[in-house]
């Protein structure tokens, strides 16, 4: 019988200041006990509770892909009590990770389809995981065309720049990296994600779209997808709500009858259309 509240002890392996405004840091963790690394089997789209003893826990999307090895990567925005403490922690320090929690993206159902990823701001974390997973030699052949649109305010706010370069250079993925406004030396796209999506105009035929970003991006992306004929069951989103238990017990994160932690965080647009907008 596993205790769902007990975090696995981990060691901070690497800390990186991820953006120019220093509001985001990327952490790599290694499990202290190999059997915990073994037990932590996850897929892109799932999240975990980062547990800092004495401060509490914060739910954070898993940015690494299981295809990268047994370490875990998270990119954390400095927000409140736990995340601020995390930002002060250094390599070698011991803390906890509890998970994996929630459902992954429906990677099985997505097989054989074209995939369109629309990401804005730091919501790109679990989509990093997804991209790495999809592009892995074991998986790439199972999917059709892959289109990746990702926008940030400025070049310095883009996460995972090395990977973006790598994907941009690949011929088996259409990469569109965009920033909000023109900046000297920037040779990629300029404009908000919905505008770029409009230009790219991905076709809905036999396709699935994963859309993650701040509420305003979602709001303006929706009409663009509607115009191109995308239906609610082809659009997959990932929700965030305040959480504690992460396992559907504490009653905090529900949207109608469903718990974002346990039944989500991944939902289709069609599912969400039937539910109260309590997120």
């Amino acid at each position: 019988m596993n205790n769902p509240y007990l975090p696995y002890p981990v060691r901070i392996q690497r800390v990186e200041i991820a953006t120019e405004d220093k509001s985001l840091r990327t952490f790599d963790f290694e499990f202290i006990h190999p059997e915990h690394a073994e037990a932590f089997t996850y897929l892109p789209g799932q999240f975990a509770e980062l547990s800092v003893p004495g401060y509490g826990e914060a739910p954070i999307g898993i940015a690494s892909s299981p295809t990268e090895g047994s370490h875990l990567t998270f990119t954390v925005s400095k927000a409140g009590v736990v995340t601020s403490k995390l930002h002060s922690m250094e390599e070698g320090e011991i803390m906890g990770v509890r998970g994996p929690l929630g459902h992954p993206y429906p990677l099985g159902e997505m097989e054989g389809k074209n995939i369109v990823i629309l990401a804005g701001g730091y919501a790109v974390t679990t989509l990093r995981s997804t991209m790495v997973w999809l592009l892995h030699p074991d998986n790439r052949d199972k999917y059709g065309e892959i289109t990746f649109v990702y926008g940030a305010r400025t070049p310095g706010m883009l996460l995972y720049k090395d990977l973006l370069e790598e994907w941009d250079a690949r011929s088996d993925v259409n990469t569109y990296i965009t920033i909000d406004n023109e900046v000297e030396g920037w040779d990629k796209y300029v404009g908000f994600v919905p505008q770029i999506a409009d230009q790219v105009s991905p076709k809905p035929d036999n396709a699935v779209a994963l859309v993650c970003g701040p509420p305003v991006m979602i709001k303006f992306t929706q009409p663009v997808l509607d115009k191109m004929g995308w239906t609610g069951d082809q659009i997959i989103m990932s929700l965030e709500n305040r959480m504690k238990c992460g396992v559907g017990i504490c009653g905090r994160c529900n949207v109608g009858p469903y718990y974002v932690c346990k039944d989500g965080p991944v939902f289709t647009k069609a599912q969400l259309d039937e539910l109260p907008k309590e997120y």
Partner: protein
């Protein structure tokens, strides 16, 4: 399993034998109210009471509970690693628990133990180590409506044994192996006692005249019920005090917090309430249930619409009437449900 009989005058030795190897708790009178207290004899046992003020949920889900502890030091080799609190070392008995409160535990089992490989170990440990001996309701209170929410004054679900007060004697009905074991030394009940208990059951059920109707709530899609115009009015009187949630035997929302003192730290869970705006407040300042209307609606939608959908028809209410009795502004759950059903 045969119904047994026990004379009230022999209860003392029954309680004393229970208490030899277990902690025994029962409702006892404390001035004007009834509360749960540990007993080691039958001296303070009561048979004429409605129900305890507080529900007994704290026996399995304490208002504050330590889940884990850790050494609060990065210098210590084992520091900053959470360790589980040890399980209970003694069994406990809840004697004279009302059937509705036992039924509430069955509903909460569906929540706390939804994942059989990773149940809420703190809830489960105490549940597994507890015997529930119920006392059927002879004179239900005017706020009770158990019979319309899958429960009743002689409801047996969740109990190991049901006692029915027959005056001089108690009928004792073992319902599980644990109950059978405790009843092993008791005499079989004569047929007239069994008949008398059956008559009392019928009379008690008939004495419960208030009902709720959920038929339309069950039929409607979630969003349609959510947008019911009734919610525009009911919230106005509510002051979001959370009293209803703390008294309710099926309310189970909690918060988790860390506490430290020098080198010692622990993680605790505390009862929380969906009536508080902080409950859902995001760090960004956004709040998905930012208004009082949202929160009042959540409490009733959760119990009467969301829980039945999630839990295979189980309702998040057992009709005990505590919320109605305790609400400072007289919000009556029966009126709310019946209005939601209009």
């Amino acid at each position: 399993m045969h119904d047994k009989i026990i004379a009230k005058k022999d209860l003392d030795s029954f309680v004393r034998s229970l208490a030899q190897s277990r902690d025994v708790f029962a409702p006892v009178r404390d001035k004007a109210s009834m509360g749960w207290a540990q007993i080691d004899s039958a001296d303070n046992l009561e048979f004429d009471f409605l129900n305890t003020d507080f529900s007994p949920k704290a026996f399995f889900f304490p208002q504050n509970e330590r889940l884990m502890h850790f050494t609060n030091s990065s210098r210590d080799e084992d520091g900053m690693i959470m360790e589980e609190e040890p399980p209970r070392d003694r069994e406990q008995v809840l004697l004279n628990i009302r059937p509705c409160d036992a039924k509430a535990f069955c509903v909460l089992d569906l929540v706390f133990c939804q994942d059989e490989n990773a149940p809420d170990v703190y809830w489960k440990d105490k549940r597994d180590k507890t015997v529930l001996i119920g006392l059927a309701c002879k004179a239900p209170c005017p706020t009770c409506f158990c019979t319309s929410v899958n429960c009743g004054p002689h409801h047996e679900e969740g109990l190991d044994m049901l006692l029915v007060d027959l005056g001089e004697d108690l009928l004792a009905r073992p319902l599980t192996d644990k109950g059978q074991e405790l009843a092993a030394d008791l005499q079989d009940a004569p047929q007239e006692a069994v008949d008398q208990a059956a008559g009392q059951k019928k009379a008690s059920e008939e004495a419960i005249t208030s009902t709720v109707d959920m038929s339309k709530i069950n039929e409607r899609p979630v969003l349609e019920e959510y947008e019911h115009p009734y919610f525009d009015r009911v919230f106005e009187a509510c002051i979001n005090c959370g009293t209803c949630t703390f008294y309710c035997p099926t309310c189970h929302c909690f918060d988790i917090q860390d506490e430290t003192q020098d080198e010692f730290g622990h993680r605790v869970r505390n009862w929380d309430t969906c009536m508080s705006w902080l409950f859902t407040h995001h760090t960004s300042g956004h709040n998905p249930r930012g208004t009082k209307k949202d929160r009042v609606r959540q409490r009733f939608m959760h119990k009467f619409k969301y829980m039945p959908i999630k839990l295979g028809g189980a309702i998040g209410c057992v009709g005990c009437g505590r919320c109605t009795r305790k609400c400072p502004v007289n919000i009556d759950v029966r009126t709310v449900v019946n209005s939601m059903n209009e």
